[in-house]
């Protein structure tokens, strides 16, 4: 790994003469650390950043941490703590120490994600039409048909370009050996990409030298890529498609992101009440009357999209939208129904899908998963609850989860009962020793556990693009493994180092990243 990066740039070649920088007073505590090795010496592509930390005057790190927090506050990237009436607002916690992904590691992740998305998209096409993978005995039919996320209303649908999962945010974790695992595939409405772009924007302003020296790949073109994707998958008969972003509204926790992406793309941000279906077409209500809409990047969950087809009580959707979709007059991204592919039970079969559809070996492994529906697995899980992480199949966001080693006897008994009652709804995985990254705590650095969510765009079954970067989520509480922002997690900027010949993000780019 070192040899490869040494050939990349002059700054790295100088390393032969000067010793590699290290973090003298930092403790890795036996965990895999993203920035330094077990001797606290900088990992490849992290040298400039570690040198910078060593040269900063005392107190400077926490000063920059505060400067960035103020900037985020000023930009209004906040969520309300009680209610807006109380006026108490907080920013999403942010840590100024970036996570660095070496060029070589990224190459591996990039290839693995592309492979995985190609397989998952093939699975979605198949499972709502021929169901070959069921007929061939790879996935039991009952697992599909009992999944609440398998939408019967979507059977027989064929989205344009055969793309179902246009936008994905896959959660990756690393264990003690540094191996990268896929923890979850988020194929519904993954959020967080706006934080990737905003984190980069503030980091460039606060760490310009380390940023330039680290040869970081740019993320600023995400919104153009997204817009182009949405135009590419528009109904084929539309020459100049009108693209909108559909949000549940200003009180949704991800509203800032919906608004930000619409603004960056120059698309219209609509709510369900702005849209209306008339005669097999979707229109939006404008100051000049009704205007036709061709592509909806929807950030409203499947079952809220159309009260006529799905939940009758939804007021976030558009009455009749699915009729227009079936008639082929509107593109929905992601396609309704993709939730079946990130059901936590179906997740266990993704390596099989890769073999089945692509005839390839999975590049990124799954975390070993016990499917409680299988008798042997269930038995093992019930006997080892104190070692395992148990998850509800249909939940996300860190809800419905038991972390065995940290749980009480009562909690474990409660989960055992739930598993026996409804085995289909539960899976279990070994508790991974998640990798850590240096994080500002007071005036010094301490290791905190992290994960990584890269964002993947798919415009055709074989045209998959991975944003070189992603959201590094960090569990800010000491020892905690839960990185979800709803549960005390924060985020970091993710610096993917460029290989020779790859574009490097410019510091003097006026458009905010």
């Amino acid at each position: 790994m070192q040899e490869q990066s040494q050939s990349q740039s002059q700054s790295v070649r100088l390393r032969a003469k000067t010793p590699l920088p290290s973090l003298p007073n930092y403790q890795t505590d036996g965990f895999y650390d993203e920035l330094v090795d077990e001797n606290n010496i900088a990992r490849p592509d992290a040298e400039s950043l570690i040198s910078l930390f060593n040269n900063l005057p005392p107190g400077e790190l926490s000063r920059r941490q505060h400067a960035i927090e103020r900037a985020l506050y000023r930009m209004g990237i906040t969520f309300t703590v009680y209610s807006d009436q109380a006026g108490t607002e907080k920013i999403m916690p942010f840590d100024v120490v970036p996570r660095i992904v070496s060029a070589m590691l990224w190459k591996h992740i990039d290839a693995g994600l592309k492979q995985r998305i190609r397989a998952l998209n093939r699975f979605l096409c198949d499972i709502y039409n021929e169901r070959q993978i069921v007929h061939d005995g790879i996935i039991p039919a009952e697992l599909i048909d009992t999944a609440p996320s398998y939408l019967k209303q979507c059977k027989g649908l064929k989205p344009f370009n055969d793309v179902w999962c246009h936008i994905t945010g896959t959660d990756l974790v690393r264990d003690n050996s540094g191996t990268v695992y896929v923890l979850e595939d988020n194929l519904r409405c993954p959020s967080g990409v706006s934080y990737v772009l905003q984190n980069r924007h503030v980091m460039k302003r606060n760490f310009p030298q380390a940023f330039s020296a680290s040869r970081v790949r740019p993320v600023s073109n995400y919104s153009s890529q997204l817009f182009q994707l949405l135009c590419d998958v528009a109904p084929p008969h539309v020459a100049n498609p009108t693209v909108v972003v559909l949000t549940p509204g200003v009180y949704n926790s991800a509203y800032y992101e919906h608004s930000y992406l619409a603004q960056r793309m120059g698309a219209v941000l609509v709510e369900g009440r702005d849209l209306v279906v008339e005669g097999d077409l979707v229109y939006m209500r404008t100051t000049s009357g009704l205007q036709r809409v061709d592509v909806i990047y929807r950030r409203v969950d499947d079952t809220f999209l159309d009260p006529k087809t799905f939940r009758k009580d939804s007021c976030l959707g558009v009455e009749g939208l699915m009729d227009v979709y079936r008639a082929g007059n509107i593109t929905l991204a992601n396609a309704p129904g993709t939730g079946i592919a990130d059901d936590k039970v179906i997740y266990a079969f993704v390596p099989d899908m890769i073999h089945y559809y692509l005839d390839e070996e999975p590049i990124l492994p799954n975390v070993p998963t016990y499917v409680c529906q299988k008798e042997d697995d269930r038995k093992y899980v019930l006997e080892h609850l104190d070692e395992l992480v148990v998850k509800a199949a249909g939940e996300s966001g860190g809800y419905g989860i038991l972390i065995g080693p940290h749980a009480t006897l009562e909690e474990r008994a409660e989960f055992a009962e739930k598993i026996r009652k409804d085995p289909r709804n539960w899976i279990a995985q070994p508790t991974l020793e998640l990798s850590r990254a240096p994080t500002v705590v007071g005036d010094h650095l301490e290791g905190r556990h992290v994960d990584l969510r890269p964002y993947i765009l798919c415009s055709r079954p074989d045209d998959v693009w991975v944003l070189p970067g992603g959201l590094t989520r960090v569990a800010l509480r000491k020892g905690s493994l839960v990185v979800n922002s709803s549960q005390g997690g924060g985020s970091k900027d993710t610096w993917v180092a460029a290989e020779a010949g790859q574009a490097v993000a410019s510091l003097h780019n006026n458009s905010p990243e």
């Binding site: 930009m75 135009c231 590419d232 608004s259 209500r285 100051t287 905010p512």
Partner: protein, 331 residues
Amino acid sequence: MREPRFGPTSIMSRIMLSRVAESIYWMSRQAERAENLARFIEVTLHMSLDPTESSVNPWEPLVQVTGDNEWFEAKYGQATCQNVVQFLAFDEEYHSSMLTCLRSSRQNAKSVREAMPTESFEKLNEFYHFVLDSRAPQLTDPTADFFEQIRYHALMWTGVLDSTMSHDIAWHFVNVGRLLERADKTSRILDVKYFNLLPRVEDVGTAIDDLQWSTLLLAISGFEAYRREHHLMDIEKIVAFFLFHRSFPRSIYSCIAGAEWSLRQIEKESGSDYTGHAQRSTNALRHRLKNTNVKEVIAGGMHQFIDRLQVELNEIGDALGQDYFYANQPA
């Protein structure tokens, strides 16, 4: 990747969502309202530092301006510097305090953030936080300096909007909201101050209190503009300045003319050949202002004149809803 399918232009420079138009309009109105409240308080604070022979309580008229005197009296009783500042600037129970207005304005801005320049949202956000963070010290010891700073925040907010936003349909809705609100507030300050300073028609022509009338002009940033044209304080000239001045940006005539222009642009941009109700009413009001002279206003009763004006302003606001905010027909 294949050739991108999108062309160079988007229809969104020509049309906008009805909901967005309405939110932008209110965002602009509410921020303008907050600014005007700060202006009222600032001049009154200044004035109360210069003792006059007049026995009028300078804080009383500020409550009357709102038209919500009963609500005020029930909650606060007699108007004093402290309680009027609390009421107009920071009262979260009052629907039109500076803080409530800025909060609603910012909430509206949040809901249309994608349609506005980033700098403008950030400016409004900063403005709101400035007021929120100043609440505690200002409630104990209100300072004219604070309200002056509000005025500068507001001026910067309008300046940022005007110089970063394309002057397309969205901007014209900003402008209509701003100018209708401003016309309303200019008329209210004239109404109440006039009543207090000059209760009877017969008093016209008697010696007047230069300082009090200067204050009136200061409240609309018009003192210097007036002085350049007239030098001496004269009631008829001051009233005419407020109502009919052709180019001073806070006079009622110029607010209405500006709003009419923006409404015309909105219809032109959206390619409509139909003249909306709002535009027709605005046009009629402008003609009426143009053909009225100050002597008639004073003779007929200033209060009656302003009452009618405010009814007409409200009608224009309602007509905007019918014309633009509740679309139902395919274009």
